[in-house]
Subunit: 359 residues, 2 copies
């Protein structure tokens, strides 16, 4: 039996379920698959009945038999358990914000900076879904015409806040349509038929963590330390799919048609751009898409070196699950995942330090 | 009997109804009120039963007895009938885009450039509601620290597209909640649980008319010819209330606390800005507000001369109806409205040319 002993932590959540789906659809070589949840109360019907193993609770020895562990749980769960998985010899791919900005942890969007995975020390992180969208739309242009400034506004779906947020949107929408009063639970205010400029907690600098992550993670993925980025992140009453309005200034003049050509040729990017027939990316229709969708590519009328674009991503899929599965595929391709129980008996195989990246 | 003979064109529409409400609430001195619609099929239950006159169809002689005519109909109706009203001796206040950019037509946000009404030639225009929001939030800062660059993204409610758009949002939301398929009518695509980066038609430069109006009208209201403004306008599934994410760079450094102080002191602006307790403007709660609501005032972390803000406006009220009623109040205060049938008999009264502003 060949393949890796894979574990998914947070297997009952929206991103965890999507990771399982991606592993299956992309035929990731799993010799075994174990599913964990930090929240037993959240357990769900299995996604793949008959074939999907039961979901287990987390324990300190959960990863003793794992080669590769996906973390799709919250930041606290990743902080507590990922070091144990790494110590047990597994490679961890984390979709939480726990170590994204840690200089010892590669932050990877495979189409942008895949080569950097090789610097991992047992842990690789996937960025915020808005950052996947933004970097995939900007990198093909930035590599030939370096960015000078980026201003970005997001229109983020509730699924970024989990399944309960999706259920809250439906419940609130029904109440509003019946003319009844809404009492919010997951979000601080009503989200149905409303917009909230609050994505994650607020920081001392006045940014929300969603906004600040977008700034810091985009700089890290693009290796553009100090790039001026301004961001406003807002939650809109949409189930799945984040939209990002991008206003980007480059070092040199850039024509929309040239940008369009570069983007059409970029793997993982799909250009949907014909406003005359109302063709542009939309969250509702992006759900399930593996591609980052780009449209409304237009010259900034005040600046020939600037462009505006409208970018949409399935935040659960390419924005999170698919991206971390692609990272695992790249780790496997580069021989960075110790395979199926062989590691304990072998001496002298080249391996990374697997040290604890937390410090 | 004192007061003006007032007419409202487009009286059955969302903005027309709100104009009638504002005239009533603000006790605008009307000696008579006539209501017109260009679309008889759209007639509605009267807003003020018993007191509200019947809605009449438009005709070439409709304005023979009017001193002041509000146009709250489409651009085509304003283009066809406003010149007739002006020729008949009335002053026209138009909320449509028909003449907003015409250099002979003052484009007024009373809190920003009220003095300019006096240059009218029978017609004064109110701007796009997003422009009212943007200019009221920026002008108090711009007047002491001139703007260098503005990037703005909008989150616009469906009411900007009329009552049918609101009904479509409800109908589509019900279908989605029942798991049924949506067929769009008013908008080119489903708007329920979706976001559309299309506000009005698309122009040859790749901007939508919503975006281009925002650029041109903001420059005109702020008297900031050539100010670089980039805009993305998007429609979100919200009934009433537009949100505008503003990223503004000024000529000199500006501290968020100073900006907040200037905005708190500005008439017509209400600052709602305490992120720690999730206090910020929201469209759902802005409905019915006379004020432009400003929050999330924060320094741009990459530029000490730049600020970000989150601005919300009731697009039907201060964004349209209240703004044009305030314009009429100012015209009355300055003696620019010929009062109650006196004009025909009087000779030598100072008056404006009342010429046709269309050319």
């Amino acid at each position: 039996m060949s393949g890796y002993r894979v574990a998914v932590v947070g297997a009952t959540g929206l991103v965890g379920q999507e990771i399982i789906r991606c592993l299956e659809q992309r035929k990731f070589p799993c010799s075994s698959l174990r599913l964990f949840t930090a929240d037993r109360s959240a357990s769900r019907e299995p996604l793949l009945p008959q074939r999907e193993p039961a979901v287990e609770g987390l324990s300190n020895s959960a990863f003793d038999e794992a080669d590769l562990v996906f973390f799709a749980a919250g930041m606290d769960v990743a902080r507590q358990f990922a070091p144990l998985a790494i110590k047990a010899g597994a490679v961890v791919v984390d979709s939480s914000p726990a170590w994204r900005i840690d200089p010892d942890v590669p932050l990877i969007v495979p189409e942008v900076n895949t080569a950097e995975v090789r610097a991992h020390k047992g842990l690789v992180a996937g960025p915020e879904s808005t950052v996947v969208a933004l970097t995939m739309a900007l990198y093909p242009l930035h590599r030939v015409n370096p960015l000078k400034q980026v201003v970005v506004c997001t229109y983020e779906s509730v699924s970024g806040a989990g399944r309960a947020a999706q259920e809250e949107l439906s419940a609130q929408a029904r109440l509003v349509l019946e003319g009844r009063t809404v009492v919010p639970h997951v979000f601080p205010h009503q989200i149905a038929f409303n917009v909230l400029p609050e994505v994650d907690i607020f920081l001392d600098n006045g940014y929300s963590r969603g906004e600040w992550s977008l700034v810091e993670e985009t700089r890290k993925v693009l290796r553009a330390e100090g790039l001026p980025i301004s961001a406003t992140c807002a939650r809109v009453p949409v189930y799945v799919g984040h939209a990002v309005a991008v206003h980007a200034e480059f070092s040199n003049p850039i024509a929309p048609e040239d940008a369009r050509k570069l983007l059409v040729e970029s793997p993982g990017v799909r250009v949907l751009d014909d406003p005359d027939v109302s063709l542009y990316p939309q969250p509702w229709f992006a759900s399930g898409s593996d591609d980052v969708l780009v449209g409304r590519i237009r010259r900034d009328a005040s600046n020939s070196s600037a462009l505006s674009m409208w970018v949409v991503i399935d935040n659960l899929r390419k924005g999170a699950a698919l991206n971390v599965v692609q990272i695992a595929e790249e780790l496997a391709r580069q021989g960075h995942i110790p395979e199926g129980g062989k590691r304990h008996g072998q001496v002298g195989t080249p391996s990374d330090s697997h040290g604890d990246p937390v410090h």
